[in-house]
Structures are given as structure tokens and as C-alpha cells.
Symmetry: C2
């Protein structure tokens, strides 16, 4: 097993170090190779994702990414040129984002209830395709467009994946989130696809919610959700709402999966490079460690994933909520618990 | 002053009756005419918004709408054919949505802090324009598109309005919410417009947040917001998040404004027709009454608007949180308090 590692910028390298510590404790056979990508490289060389690097990444079984970006890089450069480029080039059509409220973690909600949802966000279509343009820029007649592209092929595969996850969970419940009453063309494709695929999964109960209503229910009644399937942009927003009610992005893990296995899948914490706290050793590596859990599951080692997740659950339930986090100490504890 | 009233379906007529009660108590000179539009009319006649009715609506100074819809109408019909049609035909380019946490109202947040934001959502552009299509429907090669249209004209006028509102408030703070790092064409237009217009409002401090981060901060730190300006779709989602943290859509008011005054503006509670509780007299009319407050402000009667808002604030702060709401009793109390 070969893992490509992109530590990135800011707190990226700090949290990735702890993720690798845990990985080393449970799966010492996984060989990892670091790749220098992100803001630092861009400042130094102007490069974002050279073709040669992309080719090398493709030779690995998976990728672990920390976080990229710093305030000196104009908005959109690293996103479109590196992060989204990786997702699109490696056909990461499933963006997997669990949101679970662990024991001992304080939710900003007064009565959160039991939150344990699995968001399946589409990753290669929708308004993220970069299909848009601008006419008469910088004049009073400027027009800017953004086109959301949705294909039967793309929607069907992510919907099918969501059903497969739902049927394997105790509650077997799937919620489609979209805005079918306004985005009627894309909405119709999504609705019909869910209806069609649902015929193959009669045990799974299906619900639909408009994205605005769902964003509200995530706050007022998050316990109702089990698996969620949604488009790229809605998924971006609602998974951050889900993260917020389960303790914040310090705990939010994600996997960018090519379910077909043709390309390596990529695992990353949802948080950014947090330049404000970088270099101080106080970033919480838990989201990265949970992403390592998703990675292990994806590589066909569910028992190891379970051990990592259990270590995180134990650590969170026994943390002193007032103590400052020390990145390396959290990593040491999690590695000891997982490997033990 | 002439007000067109569209009670609509479900709880619409129930809450509108109370809104009119309050309006009658403070501004008995406003003459109101009911219009039969919504699901009931569509079932009966197949009509959504006949041109003749639209022409008549145009002859009024404002419109008050309850809620439209029932489970028998396919998704999208009333939205595109009536609600959005009104917004587009009447050029309701500002969708105004205050979100204030009133004393006595329980937020689902454990520590909400002081929440008092004014969301200015664009109402006539973005992904709401209905510009999309479908190719090879019902085949494995189906493609569905949705185009977000953004114009300098459309963005500038709503941004300017938001600055005008911000400069008139104590904190004088404006936050642009978008997704400029992914939707780079539209995002650039929005960012540049905010930057340009800000030069005319040096007293206003300006912040920017990506929509995903903002949806999170609405939950973890809503007190940081004052005025918000955002696009049509992002505004739809974040205003529901804002409503959720300030007590729910039972309290969320909105105004659809043609700021130029060419067409009548329309005021409506954000909630829907709630068929599950219709006919029982238990819907909370507060969102409609607060919408009447926005209407009075818009019609140049700020002192009356203040009285209505103060009545709502008093009523909410003295309500027994365990008692069932009685629609007519709330209306009676608010009318007495406002008119007194
Ligand atoms: C950084 C950005 C491109 C990205 C996204 O919008 O998908 C991020 O917000 C995420 O959710 O992973
Ligand atoms: C009913 C629907 C068309 C509408 C919207 O999406 O704008 C509603 O959600 C709202 O926020 O007023």
C-alpha cells in the first residue's frame, strides 16, 4: 500500500504529522511519500499541480491532504488550480462527510440529541465545474454566469453509493437535499434518479427536503438524519452546518472518493490551513485522524478504522474541555490508543 | 394607500387575518383588496397568475401575501408560476429578511448571544432566473443545466441598498456572503461591486465570508453579524439558518422590495402554508405581523412600524412558552398593543 501525503500549508503539516503517527501505529506497512503542493510551492515556483506530480499521485493507493492556502494567495487560485483540480482529475465523485456528535463534545445546540449522519456530497459536477464566464467586465453592462452541469451518469453513481451506505446502516434512511422547486431542471434529474435507484433498495426509506429547510432542520432536529445525498454546492454548505452542530470543523473529516477505484481517493480534514494558529502546536489533529479512519475503511481495513474511531471517541469523552489542545499530545494519545 | 392581499392556502388566510387586524389598528386608512391566488385557484381553474390579475396588483401600493401551496400541487408549479413570477415581474430585487432574537424567545443555540441581523438577499438574478435546460431526458445520457445570471446592474443596486441600510444602523457593518473561491466569475463581480460601492460609504466596515463558513458562524457566533448582502440562492439558505437560530420560521418576516418604487413591494412571512396545522387556529401569526411592520416602514410610516415591532417584542417576552398558540388571540393582543 502506497500513500501520497500532501501536508500543505499552515496547520496542514502539523495535523498531518499526527495523522501519520496514528496510521503508523495501526498500519505500519503503509508506505508514505510526501508531496510539496500548496501556497508555499506556488509562491516559490508559480506551480499549482504540475502534470508530472499528478501522474505520480495516480501511482498511489490513496492520498492524505492536510490543508493548503495562506493569506498571500488570491482567492480561487489554489481552490480551482489544486484542490478542485485534484477532485476533478481524479474523478472524486463521492465527497464523504460523516457528522457525528461524540460523547464529551459540546455542540452549540442546547438540545442536540443524538447526531450521527453521513453526508454523501457529489464531487465532480454541479456549479463546481467552472463553466461560466464574464462579458463586458468592469463596465456597467457586465454579465457573469455560472453554469451548473448535472448528468444522469454523475448523479446516478453518487445516489447509488448513498443507497449502498444507507442500506448498511441500522436506520436505513436516506434524505435527498436539493432545491427542486426552483432549480427544476437539475432538481428533476436528482429526484427521478433517487426514485429509480430506490427501487433496488426497498429496505431504505427515502425523504426529500429543500436545502433551505434542511439547513434549518440540521439545527432544530439533526437527530432525524441518517444518510444524506446532495449536490456539490448544497453539500458544501450543509456539511459545514452539520460540522458546526457536532463540534466544529476541528472534528470534521472527509474523503474524496473515486468509488470505481480507477484513481486514488483522497482524505482530508474539512478545515483550512488556519494561518492564525499555525506554528503554535495547538491545532486539533482529530479531523485528520478521523480522515485516516475513512482512509483505512476505504483501503479495506475496517477493523483498523474502527480502532482509530474508537480511540478518537475515547479521547474526546475524556478530554478536559478547558485545557488547551496540544497537537502532538493528542496525536500521541490517539496513536497509543489505536495501536495498543 | 391601497394594499393587495393574497391570503393564499393552508395557514395563509389565518395569519393574514391577524396581520390585517394589526394593520387596521395602526393604519385604518389603508384600504385592502383580497386576491384569490394559490393552490386552491390552480386546482379549480388551472390559473397561476393571470395577466389581468398581475395588472391589477400593479395598481396597488403594496402586497401582503400569506402562504401558498398544498400537497396536491407538484413541486415547482406555484414557485415558478406564482411566487417567483411575482418577484421577477414586479422587479423585487431586494429580498429583505431581518433576523433578531427577541427577549423571551428560545433559540436552539445554547449560547446565542445578541442576534440582530438584517439579511439583504438579491431577488431577481442568480440561479433563480430559470435559465437552464435538459437534454436526452430519461436516458442514461441526460444532462440538466442551471445557469446563474449575475449582472453589474442587478448586483450593484442590491449592494447599494445593503450599504444604505448598514450606514443607518449603529454598528455600520456589512458582510458579503458568496463563494468567490469556486464561483469565480459571479464571485468576482460581487466582490468588485462591494469594493466599489464601499468607497461611497467610508463609515461602513466590510467583511467577506464564504457561504459555507458563514452558515457555520451563524450557529457558532451569530452576534458578529449586522447587515448581510448575498445572492439569491445563498440568501435563501442562510436566511433560513438565521431564522432557525432566532426562534424559527414562525417568527421570520420578509419584504420583497422594488426599491425604485416602480412596482408595489410584497411582504410575506417566510414560512409556508403548513397544511399539517391548517384550519386549527394554532399557527403563529407573528411572522406576518412583523412583515406588516416591514410594510409600514416601506410605506414611509416608520413610527407605526416601530409600534408594531414593539408590540411583538412585548408579546414574545411575556408569552408562556408552554402554552399552545392561538392564532386569533395573538392577533388580538398584538392589535391592542400596537393600536393602543
Ligand atoms: C476550499 C473549497 C474549494 C472547498 C469546497 O468548496 O468544496 C471546501 O470548502 C470544502 O468544503 O472542501
Ligand atoms: C418557495 C421558494 C420559491 C422560496 C425561495 O426559494 O425563495 C422560499 O424558500 C423563500 O425563501 O421565500
Amino acid at each position: 500500500m502506497r500513500l501520497a501525503v500532501v501536508p500543505g500549508d499552515g496547520i496542514g503539516p502539523e495535523v498531518v504529522a499526527e495523522g501519520l503517527k496514528v496510521l503508523g501505529a495501526v498500519a505500519p506497512d503503509i508506505e508514505s511519500t510526501p508531496y510539496d503542493l500548496g501556497a508555499a510551492r506556488w509562491h516559490r515556483t508559480g506551480e499549482l499541480l504540475p502534470d508530472s506530480v499528478l501522474d505520480e499521485l495516480r501511482q498511489h493507493d490513496a492520498i492524505l491532504l492536510g490543508a493548503v492556502g495562506d493569506p498571500g494567495v488570491p482567492s480561487g487560485i489554489l481552490e480551482r488550480g489544486l484542490l478542485l483540480k485534484l477532485r476533478f482529475e481524479l474523478d472524486h465523485h463521492v465527497n464523504l462527510r460523516p457528522a457525528k456528535l461524540f460523547d464529551g463534545v459540546r455542540s452549540p445546540l442546547a438540545a442536540p440529541g443524538e447526531i450521527d449522519m453521513l453526508c454523501v456530497r457529489e464531487g465532480t459536477e454541479g456549479p463546481y465545474v467552472g463553466n461560466g464566464g464574464v462579458l463586458r467586465r468592469d463596465t456597467p453592462h457586465e454579465i457573469a454566469t455560472e453554469v451548473s452541469l448535472n448528468t444522469a451518469f454523475g448523479v446516478e453513481r453518487v445516489v447509488r453509493y448513498a443507497f449502498e451506505r444507507a442500506v448498511a446502516r441500522p436506520r436505513k434512511h436516506l434524505t435527498l437535499i436539493h432545491k427542486t422547486n426552483v432549480l427544476t431542471f437539475a432538481g428533476s434529474l436528482w429526484s427521478r434518479t433517487v426514485e429509480e435507484v430506490s427501487a433496488e433498495f426497498p429496505e431504505v426509506t427515502v425523504a426529500y427536503q429543500h436545502v433551505d429547510a434542511a439547513a434549518m432542520f440540521f439545527i432544530t432536529d439533526p437527530a432525524r438524519y441518517d444518510v444524506i445525498v446532495t449536490d456539490n454546492l448544497f453539500g458544501d454548505i450543509v456539511t459545514d452546518v452539520a460540522a458546526a452542530v457536532t463540534g466544529g470543523i476541528g472534528l470534521a473529516a472527509s474523503g474524496n472518493l473515486d468509488v470505481s477505484g480507477t484513481n486514488p481517493s483522497m482524505f482530508e480534514p474539512v478545515h483550512g490551513s488556519a494561518p492564525d494558529i499555525a506554528g503554535q502546536g495547538i491545532a486539533d489533529p482529530t479531523a485528520t485522524v478521523l480522515s485516516v479512519g475513512l482512509l483505512l475503511e476505504h483501503l479495506g481495513r475496517p477493523e483498523l478504522a474502527k480502532r482509530v474511531n474508537a480511540a478518537v471517541a475515547f479521547d474526546l469523552s475524556t478530554r478536559d474541555p478547558k485545557a488547551t489542545i496540544r497537537t502532538a499530545e493528542v496525536g500521541d494519545r490517539l496513536a497509543a490508543l489505536s495501536g495498543g
